[in-house]
């Protein structure tokens, strides 16, 4: 187990592994996206209250889930890098930030596009929306710290500390719809008991969520390869890899 872990965490091995895994992950992401979009936009019936506008859910909710999930991965990887000085963990944290920011932005923007026809407004300063906006700023902060300063490792440590402090925001976002009176609707899928959503809508939603997970994996590995190349450019394995066009 430890042997395997060490081998996997070695930048050279990870670089090669990522190069092989990316095409597979990308294909899987594409297939899941096609299936999820077809199920959500074509097969699923219109909502009896919201008509077709509810179809934004199939991109809005998975993006919002990803914004939280990636943040937790980023903070955890940052923490591991901070404590055990594992290079790969720092790389994972650094590369997760822009992807997480993208999903957070999509969650906010699609929510806005959904809010306009349903609530009559693009934006309200309610608990759920505001805490998600703070999440976007936390991502921006982490990205800014990553690119600040000459030394990548110092930058990684600084951004890991910010990411770990910002974890407090995650439960706030999740429970905001219960703790405060908000315009945002409560949870439909993860609440206790059966989800209050019909199977014909739930299945494409879960497929889209899975597609977003695989999208994240694909994008993360692509970014991690570039980041490793940049950080390790003087080491021999990079020279070998470049010569072999890996």
């Amino acid at each position: 187990m430890w042997y395997w872990f060490h081998r996997f965490a070695s930048p050279a091995y990870f670089y090669r592994f990522a190069g092989k895994a990316i095409p597979w992950l990308a294909t899987l992401t594409g297939l899941l996206l096609l299936a999820g979009l077809y199920g959500g936009l074509v097969l699923a019936p219109a909502d009896y209250q919201q008509g077709d506008s509810y179809r934004i859910i199939f991109i809005h909710v998975p993006s919002a889930w990803m914004s939280l999930f990636i943040y937790v991965v980023m903070a955890t990887a940052g923490g591991i890098g901070l404590i055990w000085h594992i290079k790969l963990a720092e790389v994972i944290a650094a590369c997760s930030a822009p992807i997480g920011a993208s999903f957070t932005f999509i969650a906010l923007a699609t929510g806005s596009l959904w809010g306009k026809p349903m609530w009559g407004t693009w934006w309200v300063w309610d608990a759920r929306l505001t805490s998600e906006l703070i999440l976007l700023f936390l991502y921006f902060g982490v990205i800014a710290l990553q690119s600040a300063g000459e030394d990548k490792r110092t930058a990684s440590r600084a951004s890991a500390i910010l990411a770990l402090v910002g974890v407090i925001n995650i439960p706030i976002i999740h429970f905001s719809v219960e703790w405060w009176n908000t315009l945002h609707q409560g949870a439909t899928v993860s609440k206790m008991g059966a989800p209050s959503i019909h199977t014909s809508m739930l299945v494409p939603l879960l497929i889209m969520a899975l597609a977003c997970k695989f999208y994240y994996a694909t994008s993360l590995l692509m970014r991690a390869r570039v980041e490793l190349l940049e950080r390790e450019h003087n080491s021999n394995w990079i020279r070998e890899a470049l010569k072999n066009h890996e």
């Binding site: 936009l41 074509v42 077709d52 934004i56 959904w114 994008s219 692509m222 570039v226």
Partner: protein
Amino acid sequence: MNNLAEFFHMGGYALYVWGAYGLATVVLSYDLIAPSWRLRGLKRRLALRHTHADSVSQP
């Protein structure tokens, strides 16, 4: 699909629904393409530096 126009119409919410999906497509496509641009520049720089280093280290 017997009614393609209806599909694109989205029950009158076309602007919002397609706007949301279009926006997500743009953001995620950029997210995927951006690192490969960075990679290309980086590879070119490293290749130059490595060939330079090789020629210097040879007697």
